[in-house]
């Protein structure tokens, strides 16, 4: 078990290392650099004539004239030692400050979505597989096709529209105006949970569609296994047979794809957040890409990926714990 954990953690670190390089490359890609943009922003419209020398000074001041690998090392050292992701250009403050609470909002949305996805998809898919060719089974097929085909921003718009016209509530943002600036309290938490429902439904939509299909397919597979017939032949009550044998195994692919689901949710999050006006990382990511505020973008990309990698790890470990066929002795 220990070897297994060490091996996986090592793999995780290697992956994160390569990811950080890739993120750094993305940060460096846009034409021009921080100094150009800084100078443009600082002096445009002020009538001051900016010379190449001024820009070079700024560049030197920020340490941007050093070679890329040194800057990468500095960036990484900052993150690893001080948890410091650098400076935001657009907000003229540290990236950490800009990100602030948004990180926790993002995680709140992520976990609400994940829980919603699994709470919906697992029981429904199991029910549909057991009652094959029932109306639930057929509607599941239709719903899961739609789940994959409906762009999530569209769904977000529809939900917005419905909630405004039918329920007469604004769902934009994560808090009602009166709690926006209020200190944390139970009431504020409740208010936030209420606002979380719509983003969670929108984001869970396609993840649920996928999981419905996987769980149903696995369940159908497992239902045909001889071990299920053997358990029935032992006289075990039907519901107990179903829960202990096929259903138990139908959950395995769900566990093994947690990382994939997180990836999917994070992938869709920015646009959904933009439409719904959620103060979290995805929306900030789009904004910073549009502003070419690459340190903020890089930090967010790193964080999102880090969570995906962590969830992959969690799923590996959980799967190993669930399935005795997976050897725990490393590799």
């Amino acid at each position: 078990m220990l070897r297994f954990l060490v091996h996986r953690i090592f793999g995780l670190l290697v992956t994160m290392f390569f990811v950080s390089i890739m993120v750094f490359i993305i940060m460096e890609l846009p034409p021009g650099d921080y100094a150009d943009r800084y100078a443009f922003r600082k002096f445009s419209g002020t009538g001051v004539n900016v010379t190449q020398g001024d820009i070079d000074n700024i560049r030197h001041g920020f340490g941007l004239d050093r070679p890329a690998h040194i800057r990468y090392a500095q960036w990484m050292t900052g993150i690893l030692t001080r948890f410091d992701f650098g400076e935001s250009f657009a907000y003229e403050t540290s990236v950490n400050h800009v990100i602030g609470q948004r990180l926790w909002m993002t995680l709140a949305i992520l976990y609400t979505t994940l829980i919603l996805t699994y709470v919906l998809s697992i029981p429904i898919a199991i029910y549909a597989a057991v009652n094959r060719h029932s109306s639930v089974d057929y509607s599941l097929t239709v719903v899961s096709y739609l789940g994959l085909a409906l762009p999530n921003f569209l769904l977000a718009l529809v939900m917005l529209y419905v909630s405004v016209t039918v329920f007469d509530t604004s769902v934009g943002g994560l808090f009602s105006p009166e709690y926006e600036k209020a200190p944390w309290s139970l009431v504020k938490l409740g208010d936030m949970l209420q606002h979380l429902i719509i983003p969670a439904v929108v984001l869970a939509w396609s993840a649920t569609a996928l999981q419905l299909q996987t769980v149903r397919a696995t369940m159908l597979d497992e239902l045909n296994k001889l071990s299920v017939t053997a358990a029935r032949a032992r006289g075990i009550p039907e519901w107990k047979v179903l829960m202990k044998y096929p259903a138990r195994l139908a959950v395995n692919p769900v566990v093994s794809t947690i990382g994939f689901d997180v990836n999917r949710i994070f992938s869709e999050l920015p646009i959904v957040a933009l439409v719904l006006g959620l103060p979290e990382l995805g929306e900030l990511l789009i904004q910073s890409y549009l502003d070419l505020d690459m340190y903020v973008a890089g930090a967010i990309l790193m964080m999102l990926t880090f969570f995906i990698v962590i969830m992959n790890f969690v799923s590996d470990v959980a799967l190993a714990a669930l399935d005795p066929r997976i050897k725990l002795s490393g590799v």
């Binding site: 290697v14 992956t15 390569f18 990811v19 890739m22 993120v23 993305i26 890609l29 846009p30 034409p31 096709y145 739609l146 994959l148 085909a149 409906l150 762009p151 921003f153 569209l154 718009l157 529809v158 917005l160 529209y161 405004v164 990382g259 990836n263 999917r264 994070f266 992938s267 869709e268 999050l269 920015p270 646009i271 933009l274 439409v275 995805g282 990511l285 789009i286 890409y289 549009l290 070419l292 973008a297 967010i300 990309l301 999102l304 990926t305 995906i308 990698v309 992959n312």
Partner: protein
């Protein structure tokens, strides 16, 4: 006994009529492709998917001809106008030739804004193969013939946008753009996957390990934020054509790993097979072995994979353009058209702005059911006896 008896004492089963035997014989001697086609034909839903996609492709390819005008043509008399339904009758009676009612402009007495109002007294008849805006078919053949048109003005089947541009025309061209980005993206991904997956699968060892790592990284980074990051780097001064090709490039660049994984897995599985060894022994080169012996046995799977990866390309393009990091106006794509539908106001005032979204949904659905049908048809394990 009769002549029916064969040497081994096995009877020709007489109750089985000839046609049935012929059918069986045909089945056993059919090529892999024939088998796939027969099984696919039985899949009615998948056939519908294929038809829908062919229709969309035709709409995109012949957009110039089908559309009543150009994407930039502005109908100042009909700004933010609702879709116009051709009619065959009104209070004046029936007409064989479809028509729409004319438009009058009025001022709103309160806001003093100009309003387009339907005038039920006038009829504008629809004609086919009319002369209209000049265009060059596929950039080559100059023409000014359009499939349909009104005697006067433009028929707006899908309504118009805030500038009075015909949404049907724009949707047609957007269909072409979005589908072609999908096609090019998938092809780029495929070529990359083939090269990289082929190398990894065939060479094995160190190369294999390295490619596995790259695959792993591309797999853990959330896709759309990654696309956005790459798209953010497009210089502002790039032309739309440049952006268009750059987008297909990044889709290909990030889309290959899944495909490469499968190709690699298949190659690793087949490398030890007898026919590969035989080819190796007879001195065939690595490239020849891959293309001649390994890939053909895998073609049907590859096609299924390609079809299945289309929806992701289409949705990604739509998403990128929607937030303004992909194609830019005046180009049109489904994502760009949907930019107009970003807020609730649009839903309330001009629900027809969402028509392009129906195209996205239908296209993605069609690709998905087509892919599923093809997969079922190509799966050799689903062969039933007889």
């Amino acid at each position: 006994m009769t002549a029916e008896q064969t040497i081994d004492g096995i009877f020709e089963p007489e109750s089985e009529d000839r046609s049935k035997i012929d059918k069986k014989l045909k089945y056993y001697t059919a090529s892999q492709w024939q088998l796939v086609w027969w099984r696919f034909r039985k899949h009615r839903v998948a056939m519908i998917g294929a038809l829908v996609l062919i229709t969309m492709a035709i709409m995109g390819i012949f957009a110039n001809f089908i559309a009543p005008c150009k994407i930039t043509t502005r109908d100042r008399s009909y700004i933010m106008g609702a879709p116009q339904m051709p009619k065959f009758w009104d209070h004046k009676g029936f007409s064989f030739r479809p028509f729409i009612h004319g438009i009058k402009t009025k001022r709103d007495p309160v806001t003093l804004r100009k309003l387009a109002v339907v005038d039920p007294e006038t009829r504008r008849y629809i004609r086919f193969f009319v002369t209209g805006d000049k265009y060059k078919m596929w950039g080559l053949i100059p023409s000014s013939i359009h499939l349909y048109g009104l005697e006067k003005g433009i028929l707006h089947l899908f309504g118009t946008d805030e500038l009075g541009r015909d949404l049907f025309t724009r949707t047609l061209f957007a269909t072409g753009t979005s589908l072609s980005i999908g096609v090019l993206g998938v092809l780029t991904a495929f070529v990359l996957a083939l090269i990289i997956g082929g190398i990894a699968g065939y060479a094995g060892g160190m190369m294999d390990y390295l490619i596995q790592r790259i695959t792993e990284i591309v797999r853990v980074v959330p896709v759309i934020p990654l696309y956005m990051g790459l798209a953010a780097a497009f210089p502002k001064e790039w032309s739309n054509t440049q952006v268009y090709f750059a987008m297909t490039m990044i889709f290909g660049l990030i889309g290959w790993p899944t495909l490469a994984r499968r190709i690699r897995g298949h190659l690793l599985g087949q490398r030890g097979e007898d026919f590969v060894l035989a080819a190796e022994l007879s001195g065939a080169s690595a490239g020849r072995i891959i293309t001649r012996h390994l890939l053909p046995s895998f073609t049907s799977y590859i096609i299924v994979d390609l079809i299945i990866s289309f929806p992701y390309m289409i949705l990604s393009e739509t998403a990128l353009s929607f937030i303004g990091l992909g194609l830019r106006p005046p180009s049109v794509s489904w994502g760009i058209l949907l930019q107009d539908a970003q807020n609730i106001r649009a839903i309330e005032q001009a629900p027809w702005f969402f028509i392009p979204a129906i195209f996205v949904v239908v296209a993605v659905l069609a690709f998905t059911i087509l892919g599923d049908g093809l997969r079922d048809a190509a799966d050799p394990y689903s062969v039933t006896q007889g």
